[in-house]
Symmetry: C2
Amino acid sequence: MPLKNTGTESLIKETAKRLFFAEGKLHATTQEIADAAGVNRTSLHYYFRSRDLLLEAVFKEAMQGLSLRLAECMEAEKPFKEKIENLIEVFLKDMIAFPYQETFLVTEINTLGKELMGNIQSGPIQTFLKDVRTEMDKGTLEEMDPIHFLMNLFSLLSYPLIMAPLYRQLFQISVEDFAILINQRKEMILTMLFKKN
Amino acid sequence: MPLKNTGTESLIKETAKRLFFAEGKLHATTQEIADAAGVNRTSLHYYFRSRDLLLEAVFKEAMQGLSLRLAECMEAEKPFKEKIENLIEVFLKDMIAFPYQETFLVTEINTLGKELMGNIQSGPIQTFLKDVRTEMDKGTLEEMDPIHFLMNLFSLLSYPLIMAPLYRQLFQISVEDFAILINQRKEMILTMLFKKN
DNA sequence: TTTTTATTTTACAATTTTGTTAAACAAAAA
DNA sequence: TTTTTGTTTAACAAAATTGTAAAATAAAAA
């Protein structure tokens, strides 16, 4: 079964991801995607049959990637604090490259429905939540529902990057100065999350 | 000049806001908006001329509202900590009602361009940033760029509500349990932001 | 080489979405 | 009452977007 595999299929998918996740063009048309990929729009139908199926493929891959990244960070064989440090680095890097990935996921869930996401491994997260609880018992973390701890972590990580265009206006700062601020956030988040003493 | 003022114009605008901001239907069509409002689609053109102009109206009003809410919270005649408490209450309430408002604003900025938002009063924010700096000098707040403090505040406030559909899956919790968690966040955010001693 | 097969493109069709024109309607003014 | 004016609707037109069929192309297989 000889596939020529010109790479067009993944080119289209990656281009769609770039438009959706990196550039925030959440309602990009098939034409816009094809143009950005430098291919004929019909190729998009050849490989994905319809726009909806392309979106579904993009959605599922993103979901799977997120799930995998989470699991890898959470199951790493490291002391708790190092795990968190690594997690911050990994997700900060991802958010800088693809700030609108999560936004895409949520809005697609809202429109296409939640059936799409069966791919989530909730196991690693549940065990990690227990690790968080253990740390709280040890006294290294403030007492709270472990879910709050994780939500706080991802809030502090993601939100500023998602809302960058808005906050640059509100705070009247340049793209460069904003980038500097973002680079300071890893350390800052760590001091926010862990107890001082 | 007697206007009959049947309220249709604002009905359309409020319905659009509901779809965009509350239900997260970020690509609602004019037909969907008209149907949701229970009016003929042509009325939408009668009052707003085009879809883009309706979006522009919605965008500008939301931006103005946000700016106003911010200014009112920040300029209030209260001790700093009470200001923050009030701000959390105000914005948490708003985020519960309209979780996708900020998402809408950012994605529209990305597509329609940044020309739209001239309406922002940056003055109140700038003076408030100085207040934050003063509090840090007093020692009630952790030392950091005041912009970080504000970004942290809004991150912790907004992000969990924006990403609720995603996080409910990741954490495997029901809508009800999630709502309970959200209700705990005001107190939790306060203890995260202010120094313990 | 010819044949086969996967891929790409062209041309066209169908559907969806938006926008316009003119008529119908309803309430206040004359 | 009739007239006027603002509002709503119906019917139609235009544009944008998606989808399909078949032809052209190019690379591997025979």
